[in-house]
């Protein structure tokens, strides 16, 4: 899931300073689970903006804003309300925001900061366990990712800063290398040569068209 958090409301008001009529887009997927852009948060945002003298022309919570076809369809269905607005405010991740930009020529502004792809550890508690490196090495690290879970992306064992299994930059974080070691120490012994970063050096594109 894509983990997001809401920007400070003052910041949002700042870039809405010249906007008067606003249409709001929420997301029924990740942002709903994160409590940052679901039905409830869209409604709260409307209330907040109305209090700050903005007119809300309408809103929609799209199943997945990042799905361009769904977003375009929703924009056709809400054409009139969007026409009346001067600004579209999006309560979805960065991909979702840009899917909206690709669906309208109106001014589009974000409400959320997009943080990472995460697991839900507890309700409303998320952690980054994968950072989409492009070449998964979990088969060699007992299924625990040192690239996403170590701030230094160490590939050959813990750095000198680890103390009692915790990371030097945040004692809340488990050092992945100690977790890997505890599962099976053999996997610490392999020397991992420098990774091939060319796989992630340009924006990702994947087409399954020829396959399907």
């Amino acid at each position: 899931m894509v983990i997001t958090s809401q920007k400070k409301h003052e910041e949002i008001l700042k870039y809405l300073s010249s906007s008067k009529k606003i249409f709001i887009v929420g997301c029924g997927a990740c942002a709903t689970v994160c409590k940052t852009g679901g039905e409830e948060e869209v409604w709260q945002m409307e209330e907040f903006l109305s209090k700050n003298n903005k007119e809300i022309t309408g809103d929609v919570v799209i199943d997945e804003v990042c799905h361009l076809l769904l977003t375009r369809r929703a924009f056709r269905e809400h054409k009139e309300e969007i026409e009346k607005a001067d600004t579209v405010l999006v309560m979805a991740c960065g991909t979702g925001i840009q899917a909206v930009v690709a669906s309208t020529s109106k001014k589009v502004y974000p409400v959320l900061d997009t943080l990472f792809i995460g697991v839900t550890k507890h309700i409303y508690e998320f952690q980054e366990w994968c950072n989409t490196c492009g070449e998964c090495l979990l088969s060699e690290t007992n299924g625990i990712c040192p690239i996403a879970r170590c701030p230094k992306h160490m590939l050959n064992g813990p750095c000198g800063g680890v103390v009692d299994g915790k990371c030097e930059i945040d004692p809340e974080l488990d050092c992945p290398w100690i977790l890997i070691y505890k599962r099976n120490k053999e996997s610490l012994k392999k020397i991992h040569l420098p990774r091939d970063n060319s796989k992630r050096a340009r924006p990702g594109i994947l087409s399954l068209r020829g396959v399907r």
Binding site: P151, P158, I178, K189, I191
Partner: protein
């Protein structure tokens, strides 16, 4: 000629120390400290933006030392440079006459005075050692031949008192497999533990210099315990310093006592002073 390598091969007990480049361009204090330690130690490490603090570059510091007739150990971290920059920098260092390298990953940017910086970590310390072994054999990291190879004497860090010791030792062995020829350890407190480590480490053909810190005040204790990842000064030492009427003298005494105990155990000592380099000659003198 490589003084450090020769000394480690021929002498019983070798001393190294480290000095920190200034924040800024005034190298007066840096050079004064270098002059003070010059006759007491075989080589002097120059730190690479230690603790992720913005400082004058390590390579420039090394060159300044060389001009004074002091043999530098060029510390290089993987925090601030990708593998292109590191290779380029290492070839440059070699061409400028720098012969010793200490390869480290480096404290995280978030712990320093420029936490907004983008951390690089394209390589880790093991991979950095691998890269140096490549340059030494006349190739870049992708096997392209070099016009003139390097011949670095290169080492790394090990922590015999790591709280998670076995993973640390597995990594130590990987560093040796990637060519590390010497180790400067993290600060040693528990001599018995260290002796055990040496018994294990003597299986390998590497030189070990034990890290010894000179504590000159409670301020240093605080700094080390709070700011330096993985460092914990034991309470017994803290009490000795705090109770003493002359903490500097006490710190010098503690360090020299430790060094005495290490004679015959390892290949030398690497003295860490946290900015009090002027105490180094005294400590070495007292430990003889």
């Amino acid at each position: 000629m490589n003084k450090l390598k020769q000394a480690l091969e021929n002498q019983k007990f070798v001393f190294t120390t480290e000095i920190y480049p200034p924040k800024g361009t005034d190298t007066t204090k840096f050079l004064r400290m270098a002059q003070i330690v010059k006759r007491s130690v075989t080589a002097v490490n120059v730190t690479d933006n230690q603790r992720a603090l913005v400082k004058l570059s390590s390579i420039a510091g090394c060159l300044l030392l060389r001009k004074q007739g002091i043999e530098p150990v060029y510390q290089i971290t993987t925090r601030d440079r990708n593998r292109i920059a590191i290779q380029s920098e290492l070839m440059g260092a070699y061409a400028l006459g720098i012969r010793n390298i200490l390869a480290i990953t480096g404290d995280h940017t978030l712990l320093g005075d420029c936490p907004e910086a983008k951390p690089v970590y394209d390589l880790d310390s093991v991979q950095l050692l691998y890269l140096i072994s490549k340059l030494n054999s006349g190739f870049d990291i992708n096997e392209h031949p070099l016009q003139g190879k390097t011949d670095f004497f290169y080492g790394a860090v090990v922590n015999p008192e790591a709280s998670d010791l076995e993973p640390e030792l597995i990594k130590f062995e990987k560093k040796i497999k990637c060519g590390a020829q010497f180790f400067q350890t993290q600060i040693i407190w528990d001599i018995d533990k260290f002796k055990k480590f040496m018994k294990y480490a003597s299986k390998f053909n590497v030189k070990i210099l034990a890290g010894i810190i000179i504590i000159s005040s409670s301020k240093v204790i605080n700094l080390m315990n709070k700011k330096v990842p993985g460092i914990k000064i034991p309470d017994s030492i803290i009490r000795r310093i705090e109770k003493s009427s002359d903490p500097v003298k006490e710190g010098v005494k503690i360090a020299s006592e430790q060094i005495k105990e290490l004679q015959g155990v390892c290949d030398g000592a690497h003295i860490i002073t946290v900015g009090k380099e002027d105490l180094t000659p005294q400590v070495i003198e007292m430990s003889r």
